[in-house]
Amino acid sequence: MKRLLSVVFLLLVGLYPLMTLAAEPVFSASDMPWDDGTAILLKWELDPKMDSLSLQKADSLGVFHEFFNEFSTQGQHVDTSLEIGDSYKYRLISYNSATGDSSVFTGSATTKAQWFDMNKLSLLIMLSLVCAAILYYIYLGRKGKDLFIRRISGLDSMDEAIGRATEKGKPILFVPGLSDLGDIQTIAALNILSPLAQKSAEYGTELLVPCRSSMVMSAARETVKEAYMKAGRPDAYREENIFYLSDDQFGFVAGVDGIMLREQPAANFFLGAFWAESLILTETGFGTGAIQTAGTGQPHQLPFFVVSCDYTLIGEELYAASAYISRDPQQLGSLKGHDFGKLLVIILVLAGVVAEILGWGWFKHFFEGGS
């Protein structure tokens, strides 16, 4: 990661000169820089005594027509939707409506299409760096290199919850979200289900998995079955404990609520994608006194999970936990690549704040990309 970072800085140092602009004449027409060649940039700086203006463009016969008249002493206007490679003539008349003073400026420009949008240079550099880092780490992961990511502390609470369920002789409830199998959150939830099922098999605790879609159900069955095999307890696997409830959002919630009230599970896990129903689920779970662990990438539901659950995996933590458990090189590599991007942000922002304090506006301007 250090090597990649030093490359970034070498690149950035060379970009300083791009940011300076020439002094303005009173009225100028010029090709809009770095565009597709369909616009002309008109800039002006007028006598402060003036209070109105009329910006005009010549048609094919050379007759000027007004197309813009919003007054500002110092301003600009972009004339768009022009033909590539054509020349255009402009006239600016500024006047004072009270005294009748006026002055006329003319200017002309030819449109030109460019090969590269220089405003996006910083975007290109940064995006390439992040993409390169992601691909690099996926490559490393596939080659079998052990990529380190830290253990997510939420996973530790899993053992405690299972322990408590065993002690009480009550089942564990695991809801893999309300999304279908195409959602990475559901996949992450199923990845986390695997070690959980293995533990519950070892302890001999019952595991209930209600599902909203039949696709998720079959995937969950596969996962749990495999985990029970690994734990050496294939006999304890009960297929009917992993079941389809209902496609309907609130119908599903009512069903899970019913299970919580009837079976009184000692530990609830809500991992995956949840919407407005999150609250109804955790409220009921709280009422039954279960230890609750939740995790979702849906930002609007996180507050409710945090206040009503004992442990919450926040946003990306869910994916990180899944990558940690599955050791899938694609997931791990991607995550490491994102981490590189985060490190980059932290360092660049710190540098940017210092630059701003020192008054070096160009640094920030480079990342803004101009317009």
Binding site: D117, L135, L279, E283, V307, G315
Partner: protein, 232 residues
């Protein structure tokens, strides 16, 4: 053919858009416009597909007399009703197969499609979501219990914001002298929203953007194929 060609299609369309993002001149804008045009038309068909599979599912349920099948039947009937009136007379100023349907409008006071929209669709959808107000209230009483330092922080902020966004806020803290005006609830709420909240949301945005880059990159390069269906 079944797997590789789609991967190539995804790669080429993705690459063209990516390059077009940096090169402003032709032919990229034209290719991009064409792709967008196609994208929209295919999306139209994709929506048809979504509705058709829902219909298919419900028809199967009714046919097999699954539990609750009469309800699914009523769903199908309302589907057919709205579809037929929509196709026949259109909606608002849009004409349907039978034109604007002046006679029907005179009788109902609106086009049948709009009539159903206003008097059935709006109340149903608006009420469905207003149920959540009740669940929040009940959870407020039974589940929002302070326990750790973190959740305390959350609850305190929530209380300030909830108070700060009411019309009572000014009454409650209006007496605070101007010198400490930032302690008044509306100002305090604005401060929380503008700084700490923005900071945290910005961190979330940045991490999420990296996630999107990663996912998109894997899709374009064909590393991630789950959208093709049929497992990994």
């Amino acid at each position: 053919m079944k797997r590789n060609v789609p991967l190539v299609v995804a790669f080429i369309s993705g690459l063209v858009i990516l390059i077009g993002g940096f090169i402003p001149r032709e032919p990229f804008p034209s290719i991009e416009s064409t792709l967008i045009d196609w994208f929209m038309i295919i999306s139209g068909f994709a929506i048809l597909l979504g509705q058709a599979s829902l219909l298919h599912l419900n028809i199967t349920r009714v046919k097999n007399k699954m539990p609750n099948w009469p309800y699914y039947l009523s769903g199908l009937i309302s589907f057919a009703l709205m579809l037929i009136v929509g196709l026949l007379w259109g909606m608002e100023q849009t004409p349907g197969l039978l034109g604007q349907g002046e006679g029907v409008v005179k009788f109902l006071g609106a086009k049948p499609f709009d009539y159903l929209f206003t008097n059935a669709f709006i109340p149903l959808s608006a009420t469905m979501f207003s149920l959540l107000a009740f669940y929040i209230a009940s959870a407020a009483y039974r589940a929002f219990i302070i326990r750790t330092f973190e959740s305390n922080l959350l609850m305190i902020t929530a209380v300030i914001v909830m108070l700060g966004r009411t019309s009572f806020a000014q009454l409650l803290t209006g007496w605070i002298p101007d010198k400490f005006s930032f302690l008044r609830l509306p100002e305090l709420t604005n401060f929380i929203m503008e700084y700490p909240n923005t900071a945290a949301q910005r961190a979330i945005l940045i991490s999420a953007a990296l996630g999107i880059v990663g996912a998109s990159l894997r899709i374009i390069l064909g590393i991630e194929r789950s959208y093709l269906g049929g497992g990994k």
